[in-house]
């Protein structure tokens, strides 16, 4: 089923049919009769254009590649959901790629996407700087970085002010009277881990105290890792009062142990974490949290990409989004007042 069948049925030539199909009837002053007869045949035969052929001919596939570390993570799930929807609005289909934080996968996928002649790539990279492969690829197709970026790059990117947010969260914990704070991290040398730990450390430095290396863990971005880190932490330092979790997944894992620990010991641990807003309601406890604007993150990434596709040279924009520090979530029934007061006094 191709234009050929339409041709046989109507007697018109390839070009005329193609023009009608692409809505260029007016432009080429094709008679209404011709157009109608073609459209009728198209409907009757249920003809649909072959997008692969069109892609080959046009050197444009209307396809983009989305590379994320882990689509299971609801944070990336939401980003993917938003971007896919927005891209669809521009006529693009989205090819999904999961790197699982493995740099080799990232290189593999980037290559595949180029081979598939996608029109652009949105990338939440594992690498922390522009490695050789990417340098070659960005010459061929526009690439936009989302969430995780490179420090020195003229690739367009969008991310949140993670370092600053982490700093503020820790500072808040200090103001609440905690000076021993554990850091439950993810994959070492990864962008987020680096930036958020940097903010963590900065807050300590300003306060003039040293980060206790025994309270710093980096086991991976997953609930399982979070659980393990929390267990190790409690084994090592049962009297810990405040814990900083590098992301939502680590937080969820950590909470399992925290709750158990609190029941057993009667002690309360103050938790701080990034991007846990969706879960905040579910915990009957004060929580220090930083929330990124996922909608803006997604929208910006797509906009930057579209711009890049339209004019590859014009796209060097860097967007740093503020992160919402709705610092404490305190169910009013649970003595939150005391916390709040301490915070207000500074």
């Amino acid at each position: 089923m191709s234009i050929k069948q339409i041709q046989e049925k109507t007697g018109f030539s390839y070009s005329t049919i193609s023009r009608v199909l692409n809505g260029k009837a007016k432009e080429f002053r094709i008679s209404d009769k011709t157009r109608d007869s073609i459209m009728t045949a198209v409907k009757a035969l249920g003809y649909r254009p072959n997008l692969v052929a069109r892609g080959l001919r046009m050197q444009k596939t209307n396809t983009i590649g989305l590379i994320v570390p882990d689509i299971q993570n609801p944070f990336f799930g939401e980003l993917a959901w938003r971007m896919e929807r927005k891209l669809r609005g521009f006529g693009y289909s989205t090819i999904l790629c999961n790197t699982d934080e493995i740099a080799d996968n990232e290189e593999y996928y980037l290559q595949v996407l180029i081979d598939r002649r996608v029109d652009g790539v949105i990338l939440a990279p594992v690498h922390t700087r522009e490695w050789k492969g990417l340098e070659e690829i960005r010459w061929k197709k526009p690439v936009v970085l989302i969430d995780r970026i490179f420090f020195k790059t003229d690739l367009p990117w969008v991310t949140g002010s993670n370092e600053q947010a982490a700093d503020q969260m820790v500072t808040t914990l200090f103001r609440l009277g905690h000076s021993r704070i554990a850091f439950l991290g993810g994959v070492p040398r990864t962008y987020m881990n680096t930036m958020r730990f940097r903010g963590f450390r900065k807050a300590f430095a300003r306060r003039g105290i040293a980060v206790e290396s025994g309270l710093v863990f980096n086991e991976g971005y997953s609930p399982a890792a979070g659980k393990k880190m929390m267990a190790d932490l409690l084994a090592r330092c049962p009297e810990i009062e405040a814990v900083f979790c590098v992301n939502n997944l680590v937080f969820l894992g950590a909470m399992a142990h925290v709750q158990k620990h609190e029941i057993e010991t009667g002690r309360r641990i103050l938790m701080a974490a990034f991007d846990i807003a969706p879960y905040c309601d579910m915990f009957k406890r004060p929580l220090v949290c930083a929330t990124q604007d996922r909608e803006k993150l997604a929208d910006t990434a797509v906009s930057l990409l579209i711009k890049g596709i339209q004019d590859p040279h014009l796209s060097r924009e860097h967007v740093m989004l503020p992160i919402d520090l709705s610092l404490l979530r305190i169910p009013r029934t649970e003595g939150g007042g005391a916390w709040q007061k301490r915070l207000d006094k500074g």
Copy 2:
């Protein structure tokens, strides 16, 4: 950059180059010298085959379409993650589509996927039976249903025994001494909603009691909907003791209100829900939960699709997976003993 450049550089013909590229050097007894010289040029020029052209020529794109209601839902997130990874192992790329429970979107995407000449489609449908469009499409490309299926269809599918599991969950609630049970549902007339409510009703019927229609809600598969339904329920019936949630998202939303309510009234509500295993640890409370084997679900769907691609006529398999009813999750510190005892007595 195409085979042509390789040809110009090495002097060999299209076909020879193509053969070497596709690892058919042995088969066509191409001399080692020729092969090496070609491979050298390929490396030197950084040549990569154009998958669009290959796809057009071979009538095979090594691409599959994945249509899910909502990639934000960690349940589908995990399925997508597993399937993408497995498909990648077979050399396929995955095109991601979100229907948001809207039937029109499903039809749109299916059409796009066919136009893109994907080699197959994995579909968690919104429709509850084989509508006209699908009937046409399945003639062109293999389609596999996952999670949500059609009752009478010879399309291959894989799902869990949802009706039975819901029945067992409710029966468990009965045995624990609750006979007024609320149903917090999702999108009406959707497969899961139907099946799980059917199981819910069946348990009531067996017990000889009627389902109270005032305790049945269907507001959508989302935390927001769950929250709203729980609020409505508590307004209507503050003394409710047991609540059945149709899925993980509804459960998460509902919990927010439950916790508040419990703190305010001192009453305990027993929650039952599907696919909340990942969150179970986080709640210090008994929970009745049914857990689907997402790994098996994903693996089976991919296997069925691969089979379907290899032999379109051979694929009519239906796989119904048992659902794990690890019925009660009871933190031992919290009087779980009493619950367990009641359950054991039957």
